[in-house]
């Protein structure tokens, strides 16, 4: 009996540790040629943890406020040892996390993992994606540079286009009529308190649901395995899958470290409300497909403003996206064709418009 197992026994007698992790021991992961896609959710979670840790570190030196924010980030990047690295990791990890969250969502969509009984897992996941985009939008303003200032101006203006609730929502987001230091205070609060709280709760729910319902297999395979149970192949979650997942995290960490060290994030120029917006100004890449769509809609469509139409359309598509599982059939042998078509179209649209927006002058 080593000291380690003494501690283990002590804890087990008080927490019922073994009962607690028993489900993890029995948990299995289905094995098939698309099993690799199962890593994406875990990688997203890992990057979220990195965000929390580096975010806390940045909080040690960051000061919100129109007169201090830019200077404090500048201080982090020039005076604090490894400050540039911590901030770069936070920025890169944010972008990678949004990318892996999108990839995870589309993989779930194409593997049809959202089907009954996993509707709530999908719904919580889509809300998490919205929250992650909220993290991106609010965090982008915090260094208080020119690009962030105008991105926030345009972004909140678009929110203001929503009929009826748009204007009050815009004023709520901005903390007034204009983007000012008051906006910065609010965004700071959203970014470090409101969103992390909500996201943590939803992540717990999301992971709990995954744990409770087990891991889905694509419908075709589900039908095959139901017909012929001996064909079923799976891997133990603990430790077999977990070790593989850890390897994926290790690779993600390597990629993140390399990107942050080789391409440190820029700080830009301090925001000044009284200078013109710089030419070629664009939002972050994950908002680009919406930005580009709004640019392409004519100013007036019939009697509706183009912007209003665009915002309403995205709102409707977002709602449909959230409720997608409820339109799917209960029979794994007969998945709804139009949902697959819609998914393919959505991926092509988002990817195409992002690329177009990136290349467009």
């Amino acid at each position: 009996m080593g000291p380690l197992s003494d501690v283990r026994n002590w804890l087990d007698q008080r927490l019922g540790w073994d009962d607690l992790i028993a489900p993890l021991r029995e948990k299995t992961v289905p094995l098939h040629k698309l099993s690799y896609w199962y890593f994406l959710g875990g990688i997203t979670l890992f990057l979220f943890v990195i965000q929390v840790l580096t975010g806390i570190l940045l909080l040690l030196y960051y000061r919100p406020g129109a007169n201090e924010a830019f200077e404090s980030v500048q201080y982090i990047m020039t005076q604090v040892r490894f400050g540039w690295l911590i901030r770069s990791i936070h920025s890169w990890s944010a972008n990678l996390m949004i990318f892996t969250a999108f990839a995870h969502m589309f993989s779930v969509l194409f593997l049809k993992a959202y089907r009954k009984p996993r509707e709530l897992t999908w719904v919580s996941g889509v809300i998490l994606l919205f929250l992650v985009m909220g993290f991106g939008f609010s965090g982008y303003l915090l260094p208080w540079n020119t690009l962030a200032f105008f991105a926030t101006k345009v972004g909140t203006e678009i929110a203001g286009q929503v009929p009826l609730i748009g204007k009050p929502m815009m004023i709520f987001l901005r903390g007034g009529e204009e983007v000012t230091g008051a906006t910065l205070s609010r965004f700071f609060g959203f970014h470090v308190a409101v969103l992390p709280g909500l996201a943590t709760l939803l992540i717990l729910l999301h992971v709990l649901l995954v744990q409770r319902l087990g891991i889905s297999v694509p419908p075709k395979l589900e039908v095959q395995w139901a017909a012929n149970p001996s064909a079923r192949r799976e891997m133990k979650f603990f430790p077999n899958f977990l070790l593989r997942e850890l390897m994926a995290w290790y690779v993600a960490l390597g990629v993140l470290g390399a990107l942050a060290a080789l391409f440190p994030w820029n700080l830009g120029v301090k925001a000044d409300p009284f200078v013109p917006a710089p030419a070629g100004i664009k939002p972050e890449w994950y908002f680009l497909f919406m930005f580009q769509t709004l640019k392409l809609i004519p100013p007036k469509v019939w009697f509706i403003d183009g912007e209003v139409l665009g915002v309403l359309a995205f709102g409707l598509v977002g709602l449909l996206w959230l409720l997608l599982p409820f339109f799917e059939s209960d029979q794994p042998s007969h998945p709804k064709r139009w949902i697959t078509g819609f998914a393919v179209f959505a991926l092509a649209y988002v990817a195409g418009m992002t690329l177009y927006g990136h290349l467009a002058k």
């Binding site: 570190l57 040690l60 005076q79 604090v80 040892r81 490894f82 400050g83 690295l85 911590i86 290790y250 960490l253 470290g257």
Partner: protein, 161 residues
Amino acid sequence: MTTSDPGALNPADRLSPPLPRRRFVEALLGGGFLATVVAFVYPVVQYLIPPKAADLGGDSVVAGRVGELKLNSGKIFRFGNRPGLLIRSSSGDYRAMSATCTHLSCTVQYRDDLRQVWCACHNGKYDLNGRNLSGPPPRPLEGFEVQVRGDEIFVRRRRDA
């Protein structure tokens, strides 16, 4: 190699070669993991240490103007990043000292009723030269040199060496 082979090793020897290899792989993995941990912990620890703030003000500051202080009164002035205390005694001469109490670093004040320097936090008392008289302060306050040039009162650190 079979057991019937006359040159065969005994079973214990046959088992031994894979072990060092396994240990080598384990050392490689463990070492790599350890190196990663160090590579992440080191920058974080360095990051946590606050950079030294520049000591503003340097050696000599203007603590006040002649005529600003009545007889038997005192004022706090900025000396770099710390407060200093400038006192005009009842006889009219100027004294200056650090205003940071040597007990637990509260900022002290001049009490005209006591004609002493007093710390409100734990009732520590110093005389006009900064010597600790009563209460918890363990050491005198650091005294500064005062020079009146024109109508400005300059204060600077004493050079004892």
